[in-house]
Symmetry: C2
DNA sequence: ATGCGGTGGTTACACGTGTCAATGACTCGT
DNA sequence: ACGAGTCATTGACACGTGTAACCACCGCAT
């Protein structure tokens, strides 16, 4: 009694294997494998084919992916380490698109949060899955040692997307500096000099915001002031309240969402946009056009998901030791009414 | 020569296995396994432990997840079939949150696009991964046969999130009708009668928009008119242009983004909001508060990612045959200025 | 009878891991 | 000196699959 009552749940019934199918069809396991994979090299008579198929159907047999890829020696897994902060709408639709494009090429996308792990630990965890490719989005900056670990674990392509390349990996260099530079240049062109740059208070966005800031700084004729701000109405209001004391005539916000937030707060303070202060964001979100005045922005030419996916596919087919660098992401300022 | 030149790329060096580690450390493979998994049942002397660890380190050994879970007989994979349309910011941040929460509980999240596959085919593909749990978001509506297939393949929990439950699965019923009902009720309360309901032209959102529409229809005293609209300025402008002919005094848009788009177009047509037409959206996006007038909305009480993740974890630990139904997602109208 | 080619199927191994049961070495108490 | 214990280590199997190599059979020409 103590035995039977110690656990109320009986063990689940075993999952049917190809051996079960074989038994039921009265053939060998090899035959089952040949039939179910439509092997052309081996000839199997039509009657047995039918028997096998029926048996598989009746048992509800589904092959075991892990066993299969163990045997095969490789997987079709593409690992996609995910940032834990929502990067923004532009990025997340891009990610979704990429995901689908990869799926279309018959890859399996595995998302992997790095959690609290250190870089090396995270990379080890990734390597355990034996992914055929890894696409790092830049939250974790890979060292060349990390790349080596992944390749040793069978990864045929390691692709980094970020502001800077990594030795040994395909680098999709997305130069965020360009974004800041275009924004600042646009403002300078329009006669502004003292430019505030809004930097998110939120953690995890430095990788994007820092280069954007640096880009703005690099523009001749612009005096840049750093303005930390959180993505919340109160933070924007607080910043707007002390605006007149700052002596600025323009502001470049991290992206359109921050820009919209701040612009609204500035207007509530009685400041006129663009007369007293010019506002420009980035990402060219649709909603930016709904405000009065319409928000000027920097449009970023992201690669399409399909494009990146086919690049991944290419890199997998033709792995190379050399560091290939692809410069992506052109940027251009879009003038609307807020500047 | 023809042999060596037919393929320019030499086969990649083999991935180090635990056997390699054992050889290098001068011990058996079993010992390696015990050391690297910190087995407590078996005692291994400190010197050998060191030797093994060093050998593993030098070789850059990383265990093979597939082999491990094959041996173990189960995985920690949670399958997350992903919709191919961006559902909206509210949903995608929720997904991201869920993803991280699951990771924290040591699950591996696998995204899987269903592609062009039929429901049954897609489910088979999922089952191949032997996931311990499947969270279906409603794009593919599971049949009870599908649920059975997944459970037979070892899934301990199948969870559906959508407007309706599925036999055999844990159902997180997110009653989108409630959203529409609250919106319409809010409008009726404020004296409006002839209500337009904006339905997205985009494919794939019917699962959300249809119940929201139905909910609006269910409210006594409301006359509902369906207004298809795409998420683009031109579409909104086109709708606004013929607005006066429609004889409506209020509009409930699918979500805040559509609402903002339409509201702006209506204003451009010279219509006064809320005097001539009341506008309400859904999702309570931050940007909705930046417009003039501030956008009224329906706030949706989504379960937090952590909450859902721990429910998944619970369901995995205590699988039950019965269909458990959890009603989630309360909704309430938030009055701002546009109604 | 003997060889021979084609047909339809099976036997046997490998993939990389975790773990049970067994083995050998060494110490201790009588 | 010898059985009784610890302690450290190992050999062997199982997990589910794909596939190369092999085998039995049949018809047919030598």
């Amino acid at each position: 009694m103590s035995e039977s009552s110690k656990s109320p749940q009986q063990p689940p019934p075993p999952v049917p294997t190809s051996a079960d199918v074989a038994r039921r069809a009265g053939v060998s396991r090899a035959t089952v494998s040949y039939v179910l994979n439509n092997a052309e090299a081996v000839r199997i008579s039509e009657p047995t084919r039918r028997k096998v198929r029926e048996a598989a159907e009746e048992l509800g047999y589904v092959p075991h992916a892990a066993a299969r890829s163990l045997r095969a020696g490789h997987t079709r897994i593409v690992l996609l380490p995910t940032p834990h902060v929502p990067i923004g709408p532009l990025y997340s639709t891009f990610l979704n698109e990429l995901q689908w494009a990869l799926r279309r090429l018959d890859y399996t996308v595995v998302q992997y949060g790095s959690l609290g792990l250190s870089g090396d630990e995270a990379v080890r965890a990734w390597a355990e899955l034996r992914p055929v490719a890894v696409i790092s989005l830049g939250e974790i900056t890979l060292t060349s040692h990390n790349v080596a670990t992944l390749k040793r674990a069978g990864a045929r392509a390691v692709i980094t997307m970020g502001p800077v390349g990594v030795p040994g990996a395909h680098a999709l260099v997305m130069d965020q500096q360009e974004v800041g530079a275009r924004a600042a240049a646009h403002l300078v062109e329009r006669g502004r000099r003292r430019i505030g740059v809004v930097v998110p208070r939120e953690q995890g966005l430095e990788l994007f915001s820092a280069p954007r800031l640096a880009g703005a700084r690099s523009v001749a004729g612009a005096e840049v002031e750093v303005l930390p701000m959180a993505y919340a109405e109160e933070s924007a209001a607080e910043l707007a309240a002390r605006w007149r004391g700052l002596g600025l005539d323009a502001v470049f916000a991290y992206n359109d969402e921050y820009a919209m937030l701040l612009m609204r707060a500035l207007q509530d303070e009685g400041l006129r946009v663009p007369e007293e202060v010019a506002v420009i964001g980035a990402d060219d979100l649709l909603v930016g056009r709904l405000l009065r005045p319409r928000l000027s922005t920097v449009r970023i030419e992201m690669p399409t998901g399909d494009h990146l996916a086919s690049l991944v596919d290419y890199a997998v087919r033709e792995p190379s030791e050399v560091t290939e660098r692809h410069d992506l992401m052109a940027a251009e300022a879009v003038h609307r009414e807020s500047t």
